[in-house]
């Protein structure tokens, strides 16, 4: 394992030291592993909190700031944070207007956020609502399973809902919007290589040189199936087809994200986006806004994912609204 780290157990704590050093505009609570904005939540503004396992940077800490999150809880690598962290983040961020927990649909994340919400409401009376993101079309969705995973849509949701909270919408409205975004977005990912979890010390899965994983998540879980390595055009097809088969994206403008998994260079991500854009045009999908880069990663995994979100003038307006975070910044 070759990594820019000292010891596997210390990765998260030491990365937070670096984040604090690099971002004086943020507050980092090293004990609780929470990143929150430098200034307290404006009175009347609903606070947005997210969190999850680490290793997906810039998600979530990189999206703390004006127009997105108020606080982010960092779990161990690929491990949901604990209820204490979330409860403390909730306490710190609440202005009295309530708090929205933005949760990616993983058993661990859901259970930990549930416990946190129970505790926060019981102990401090904070109003807590939550949205569980489940946009990954690679995964079968049924009441008998853990359901779809939350992946790329998280970035888009945090941006859009963050803008709405900044406008002063109340907790109910913000939560409804979050659910609307979740209902209208879908993602699909793939990997050329496995990531290596520091504490595991070796790649999570073995992948022969001529194979790739289709339908991977963001935790180095093996994908839904393994197929022969293919050119970018075919990879794009294998990501876009299942998304378009799942939801009709031809009825209005779409926000598209081509996300890198962390180990693929930007030149490849742009090349992939070119292929995706071609397919979308052919399918009659109108991309109104796009985002290409590493936004929700899986450590050093090579690969990418595609996220599409059905938008309208309201969502596009919220998308374009000012955002000032280390991971996403415009209009400020």
């Amino acid at each position: 394992m070759k990594k820019l780290i000292n010891a596997p157990e210390a990765v998260l704590a030491e990365a937070l030291v670096g984040i604090a050093a690099a971002h004086p505009e943020l507050n980092v609570d090293h004990d609780n592993r929470i990143i929150y904005r430098g200034s307290p939540t404006r009175a009347g503004k609903v606070a947005l909190i997210s969190g999850g396992g680490s290793g997906h940077e810039p998600l979530h800490g990189g999206f703390v700031g004006l127009g997105m999150l108020d606080a982010a809880c960092a779990g161990e690598i690929f491990t949901s944070p604990t209820p204490d962290q979330m409860q403390e983040a909730t306490r710190v961020a609440d202005s009295g207007a309530g708090v929205l927990h933005i949760v990616k649909n993983y058993t661990g994340d859901v259970m930990n956020f549930e416990m946190a919400a129970e505790l926060a409401e019981a102990e401090t009376g904070v109003k807590v609502a939550s949205v569980v993101i489940n946009d990954d079309v690679a995964v079968e969705d049924s009441t008998w399973t853990a359901g779809r995973r939350g992946v790329g849509l998280t970035v888009l949701l945090e941006k859009i809902v963050g803008a709405a909270a900044e406008e002063g919408r109340d907790l109910e409205a913000v939560t409804a919007l979050a659910n609307r975004v979740n209902d209208n977005g879908r993602s699909m990912g793939m990997a050329l290589t496995s990531c290596t979890v520091p504490s595991a010390g070796k790649p999570t899965f073995d992948l022969p040189d001529d194979m790739m994983e289709i339908g991977v998540g963001i935790h180095g879980e093996p994908g839904r199936h393994r197929v022969a390595l293919a050119p970018a055009a075919s990879i794009a097809q294998q990501l876009v087809d299942p998304i378009l088969a799942d939801l009709d994206f031809t009825q209005g403008p779409v926000i598209a994200m081509l996300n890198g998994m962390g180990g693929s260079p930007l030149i490849e991500l742009y090349l992939m986006y070119g292929e995706v854009a071609k397919l979308l045009e052919k399918a009659g999908v109108t991309v109104a806004r796009s985002l290409v880069g590493n936004y929700i990663t899986s450590l050093d995994m090579a690969g990418c994912s595609v996220t599409l979100l059905r938008a309208d003038d309201e969502l596009l307006g919220l998308w374009d609204a000012p955002v000032n975070t280390s991971g996403l910044r415009w209009g400020v």
Binding site: S80, Y106, V197, P222
Partner: protein, 210 residues
């Protein structure tokens, strides 16, 4: 306290042995989690049980003991196993109350309550390829053994036996809960990591009560 009773010391010994088993087998548990999950179950359990042993202090009652254990797991593990094992121990404590030992019946009642906590948190059913598949059979065997007049030591040995069988039975299953469920059919052919750590939990219990 009769000879057959389980003292606080033995309960602490249970936890200490569990810590030893999960730290010794950290690599193995992570290896299992690499195949069908995200390669962290070993480090999650090791981190959690190390924190538990650090925090233990000198508890005077069974409920105080397991409250510390459960809260420490909840606040130090995260992931799926943190709330599940955390709830398991919290419920044992609440059920046992402010006593300083357990007999067969109260041990069984505590573990059963813990198990129900796991089910109500995680909503897994038997056969979903989770820790439930080792815990359920273990508790059934424990109760059957106690019912036929065995002492807690023998009952715990029977529970460990059954936990191992339950663990092994997860191998062919297709996961329907937890992270392994994302793999669909590809999850078959691998042991479930959580069922494996649960087998260690009952191994530790059997050894502590032996």
């Amino acid at each position: 306290m009769t000879v057959a009773d389980v003292s606080l010391d033995r309960l602490v010994d249970w936890l200490t042995r569990f810590r030893a088993l999960v730290t010794e087998n950290q690599g193995y548990l992570t290896e299992l989690d690499s195949a069908i999950g995200d390669a962290d179950h070993g480090s999650n359990m090791a981190r959690g049980m190390n924190a538990v042993i650090d925090k233990l202090g000198e508890p005077q009652t069974v409920d105080a003991l397991f409250k510390t254990v459960g809260m420490t797991l909840v606040s130090s593990v995260g992931g799926a196993s943190g709330p599940l094992y955390g709830t398991f121990f919290l419920r044992i404590g609440t059920t046992a109350g402010a006593v300083d030992s357990l007999d067969g019946a109260t041990l069984s009642a505590g573990l059963r309550a813990g198990f129900e906590g796991v089910i109500s948190r995680g909503k897994a059913e038997p056969g979903d390829k989770t820790m439930v598949d080792a815990m359920g059979p273990a508790l059934d065997a424990l109760d059957a053994s106690l019912g036929s007049g065995s002492d807690p030591a023998a009952a715990a040995a029977a529970a460990f036996e059954a936990a191992q069988r339950g663990r092994d039975a997860t191998e062919p299953l297709v996961a329907r809960k937890g992270r392994a469920s994302y793999l669909g059919e590809r999850s078959a052919g691998h042991l479930d990591p959580g069922a494996t750590s649960t087998a260690f939990l009952f191994q530790a219990l059997a050894e502590a009560l032996a």
